[in-house]
Symmetry: D2
Subunit: 257 residues, 4 copies
């Protein structure tokens, strides 16, 4: 590490991006570049050597690559003493244990692995989980463009499970529903007892509403995502936080409290 890089410790955070030419990677590079407190020092994609990251003195690596290379990338980061923020998918319990094992020998090093860097989506799920036990009723309505293959969305399914678990923990019974005469599908999909409705229409982007109801009132938490750049504030938040969070951090939640 050169003198200049040493000074970096108290200057901008030196960031390297893996998967830099991918759809998300391109946005990460732009976001890091635009952040006053960060410096983009290395961009790596298929065919580029990881050593470029070390040579540039990166303190934090952001990885938006693919499940088949991400474990090698992480192993390398840990060996080199570089913190990592990972948006790549495919992390099983086994993989997470492996990462924890590697980090065991480097108590000063931090890794953040998150399935979703959208602060709005993460807060929506947090608030829904907190509200769940105070309301008799809850339903989820997600709305997306019609090119989407799955219904409901992964976020809606995940929210439904969180809400169902919180209801169960609070000892709430099933939501009230007197429906006796239903045209098939009208009441939505049943995810752990929570009804989820998936709307598809041209013009829509990615939207979700969690509706809670009790006697005389409803509480609605709605998230509208207009652009994949909406993940960037969450990525930057993680880049800033990871040097101060040794060990493995799962999800954005702990960084938001």
């Amino acid at each position: 590490m050169t003198d200049e890089q040493e000074k970096g410790a108290t200057g901008p955070i030196r960031v390297g991006v893996l998967g830099a030419r991918g759809r998300m990677g391109i946005e990460v590079c732009k976001a890091v570049d635009g952040a006053a407190d960060m410096e983009l020092v290395a961009t790596v994609d298929q065919g580029d050597p990881l050593s470029a990251v070390a040579d540039a003195g990166a303190q934090v690596v952001v990885d938006f690559t693919t499940p088949d290379v991400v474990m090698d990338n992480l192993r390398w980061c840990v060996d080199q003493g570089v913190h990592a923020v990972v948006g790549t998918t495919g992390f099983t319990g086994q993989r997470l244990d492996q990462v924890r094992g590697w980090l065991g020998g480097r108590p000063e090093l931090g890794v953040v692995i998150a399935p979703n860097f959208g602060i709005g989506a993460v807060l929506m799920m947090q608030f829904a989980t907190r509200a769940a036990r105070h309301f008799e009723s809850v339903e989820i309505i997600e709305q997306h463009h019609p090119r989407k293959l799955d219904a409901p969305s992964g976020t809606a399914t995940h929210t439904a499970r969180l809400v169902a678990a919180a209801r169960a923990e609070a000892g709430l019974g099933p939501v009230p529903d007197a429906t006796a005469d239903e045209v098939a599908g009208a009441r939505g999909a049943d995810i752990d007892g929570v009804r989820v409705h998936a709307v598809r229409a041209t013009g829509l982007l990615a939207h979700q509403e969690v509706l809670f109801g009790t006697i005389g009132e409803t509480l609605t938490i709605r998230h509208d995502s207009y652009d994949r750049v909406s993940f960037m504030p969450g990525v930057l938040l993680a880049v800033r936080a990871v040097p101060g969070r040794p060990g493995l951090t799962l999800g954005l939640d702990p960084l938001l409290d």
Copy 2:
């Protein structure tokens, strides 16, 4: 008809209410009573003689009774030369033809029969029908209290059929939908090719949203009904209009244009 009643022609409209002690009838009586340009001159319910309406010189009768008595009531109104506004259900094509037949002999007399006196709901359906052919996508989300027995609601089903017919007339094909992996029910009920989602939650009253989408934009028409008094402006509108509309008028639509 006395002199005083004659003067009524240019004074407030003299209104009689049939089914005056029923849930809707009570609200109609209050609404007529509160309207500056109307006078509530007769209230009739089971066991009361219809002659009270004639004796009081009513010009318009509002009927919120039951399918088994409404035809006798209408026959009597036509015989007596009293205009009628009818919210009672159960009108088949055959019944409507019968009413038309009776009115054939009384060219000055008007009858308005409407399944829904909610101006907001009627306009929602009108606008949805008009918008239908300009948008690639359309879905309906209705939301009601959990004591409701049918899903989707009658209004939502009716709206879906109107929209589907308007799309067919304009030569539009099926709405785009790439869903390949669906948890059963997620995409709602299919009513003539229009997806309808029924949300049920404590605290809700009666709400409906029709969402239209095309490239880069959506148009949403939403109706919220908080109270059955919401039907009253529509009833009063019909009472005011019926003396000037000879013959049979079906639905509130023609009165709103």
Copy 3:
């Protein structure tokens, strides 16, 4: 206290209501009466002796009275060893100190004083406060019936202040706003730097939306209150909680966590 009343300790909570014939008191009586784990043992209003509450062996008193009698009621409750849940307004810092003083001598006794028993409204404010520091922009839109005298509503003003304080604590600057050409009032009221818009329309009841925005996404927290019975779940929650919370508890928030 009789044997029967003793047994009450492990049976339903014995509740007395002060202000029982007032608008809110009537609803409280109904709600307590309908709760399986409570028994309504005394209802007191102007002219009735407070001793009825003690005679009936009430364990918890709910007070929806008026600022001029509430302090005497509370003094009496503390003297008699009865827990209190208070929705009456007019509590100054001085009054709260006085209540704390009285409770100093009764370490087993609890008093909950809350300006708002609507769980939905309280959670909306909690979530808004938590979300505040993660979003560049925030605005509040409240919607009420047109008979309301103040604009914005007390709840909206309170929410704006909580949000502004959370932003300040997080070191956020002013929300971005390039408006250069404004028709007076278009951008709403400025409450501590947060723009608040008050919509008034016939048909509306009481609604509030807090809209947060950051790059590419928005998060909206919306509360719809359809009826004053919406306060009842919060009142019952407080009745259940107060015997286990010695001392003075301000607001519903601590009971919701």
Copy 4:
């Protein structure tokens, strides 16, 4: 005109685009290119000769240029017998009269000039105008990104004026509003008696809601525009319609009925 061009009359519509390298022009070119029933035969911008349009046998010209050249372009189109669809701004009553004069000598030729090609926005205004006289209350809430300079938006101001005119025509008085204690600006801007609220937040694009209220119910018409491509379906609609609409057509409204 060659034989091939003659055949074009029953084949795809031959379209030329003026201002083809501008922000809107680029989108128009893409949209025409992607439409199965159109052929993009000429693209002209600053410095290119208009004759390219005639040489290519264009039947319809789309003009998204600037106020200083649009009149010359239109004069040329009329002389050449080419229909025109114009999205350029700056049309005064005097300019429109001039266009009408030119068209007087060419009874087969059509020109469509529209300030807004968003079908959703145009329908929103149409529906709002139609609903206006049936509701006691109406307010407008528009929401845009914070870089917008004017508040309220031009569309919101225009909608308010249309609604106010429809109310006046129907003999409606002022909207009910008991506000006695207002923080300045809370009740929005007053545009011809209609309250308009302008919300600004990062993440938002262009949204507008018109809220109507009467006893017990509300009707909301909401438009969300996510992208300037949302204007393209309206442009294509006009291109298809203009050969069949001789004379000057103002706005998209007549094409939507």
